[in-house]
Amino acid sequence: MIRDVTSVIADCKLVDLIKILSRHKISGVPVVNHNQEVIGFISQHDVIKATLPNYLGIVSSDSILSEFIQLSKKLKEYSQHPIDEFMRKNVITIDEDDNEVLAADLLIRNKIQRLPVLRKGKLVGIVTLTDICRLLIEKNENSKTQSYSSNFNRT
């Protein structure tokens, strides 16, 4: 796992979220309460969906030019709004003692990029598919008896 617990609280403003995503160069962050417990997740994707109401329509259209002005207006309008208006509330998480087989399953089947890792219910890191692929590709391919699983706190 990536030992980073960059996160935001529910009343974080949209403009501040964008700053964080931009400075850290990440696509999304977990939303936590004051006790570091994960209560949601917010990504760039969620922001676009919320500020581009005709999102589904334009995905299959030829150009977003007409919607671009709308996007700009909405982003400015929502800039001071708390991100809990846009976040995903049913967030999927994994425990530090779980293994990468479960992590891969959750990431792929739920089509998510980042999976928060918890220890005693509190955020201690994040797992991405890239991490898992790296872990698997670097493991000794000759060993037939080794198990495919290992706990995240060892990585």
């Binding site: 980073d4 996160s7 850290h24 004051h34």
Partner: protein, 310 residues
């Protein structure tokens, strides 16, 4: 977890040359880039003891991301607030021929009110998953001089023990927050509250003054390998005896880390905590570069530690 705060970290670049010639091309034989800052050093040493640690503070720009990647690679959890300006860099030109070290130190970035507000929010949350927090080092421009006292208040409110290791005004103001442990940083000036630390008697007086000003426990370094520890009612003398000290940079931070690790274990007596701290400092001083990376190295050093109540 043991949390550490480094408000003014740096990227340290060490360049090895042979016979530095100014105003000319010099070939660099070996270049090392590593993250620096007292709190960061504490986290590295805590990790070296096999314990979980989370590093907080301010980072900015590409240098900030390099520091974060290095720390995560060492197994240190990070939760820095990223500022607009870039993290400072310290360049050390080490001339192997003459043995001279030339340090070129950048003035750090400025932090804004907004940055401080965001940092406080992160700090408050991280205290809910920490048992001890260390507050170390210098303050970046824009930081109020009493910030350490503020952070101590927040930590205490959340049941977290505090360790303060700084110098000058930030240290004096920090003591007003009444930290659990305070160790003045005497690298730049070996005076503590006007007392010159050049004898055991002076070190004892300085340590007592630190306690009088608010700390429950005070540690004052007397010289290489000797420390005085004072509490309200007790006085201790600790020393390590080993000839081949290689690198003292970070030894003071390793001492703090050792204290935090031993304290977090809850089954150690005060004497054992002091012994472990000294062993940690020694283990760090025996390593030329990086930090020690196993508890065994620290435990081996225990036999060179001598602690007695005065």
């Amino acid at each position: 977890m043991i949390a550490t705060v480094t408000l003014n970290p740096a990227l340290d670049v060490i360049l090895e040359v042979n016979n530095l010639k100014l105003d000319q091309y010099n070939k660099v034989h070996n270049a090392q880039v590593t993250s620096g800052g007292k709190g960061i050093n504490v986290s590295k040493a805590v990790r070296g003891c096999g314990r979980e640690t989370i590093a907080l503070g301010f980072l900015g720009g590409g240098r900030g991301r390099i520091i974060e990647e290095e720390l995560r690679g060492l197994g240190i959890t990070t939760n820095f607030w990223h500022i607009e300006e870039k993290t400072r860099s310290n360049t050390i030109i080490w001339d192997k021929k003459t043995g001279q070290h030339t340090l070129l130190s950048e003035v750090g970035p400025q932090v804004t009110e907004y940055d401080l507000e965001m940092f406080h929010s992160i700090f408050y949350r991280v205290m809910s998953q920490s048992s001890i927090v260390t507050l170390s080092g210098s303050l970046p421009r824009g930081t109020p001089v009493d910030i350490y006292a503020n952070l101590i208040d927040i930590a205490k409110e959340r049941g977290v023990k505090t360790i303060l290791n700084a110098s000058g005004e930030p240290f004096i103001k920090g003591l007003e927050g009444k930290p659990f442990l305070a160790k003045p940083d005497i690298r730049k000036s070996n005076k503590v509250f006007g007392i010159v630390i050049d004898s055991e008697k002076n070190a004892i007086n300085a340590a007592k003054e630190v306690v009088r000003r608010g700390a429950e426990i005070a540690i004052v370094s007397l010289e290489l390998q000797k420390d005085i520890i004072a509490t309200q009612d007790e006085l201790w003398f600790a020393e390590t005896t080993y000839g081949k000290i290689v690198n003292l940079i970070g030894a003071g931070d390793a001492l703090i880390a050792g204290f935090a690790v031993a304290l977090a274990e809850e089954d150690k007596s005060f004497r054992e905590i002091i012994e472990f701290s000294m062993a940690c400092a020694l283990a760090s001083a025996l390593r030329e570069e990086e930090e020690f990376n196993s508890r065994k190295e620290v435990e081996k050093c225990l036999k060179c530690v001598n602690v007695k109540k005065i």
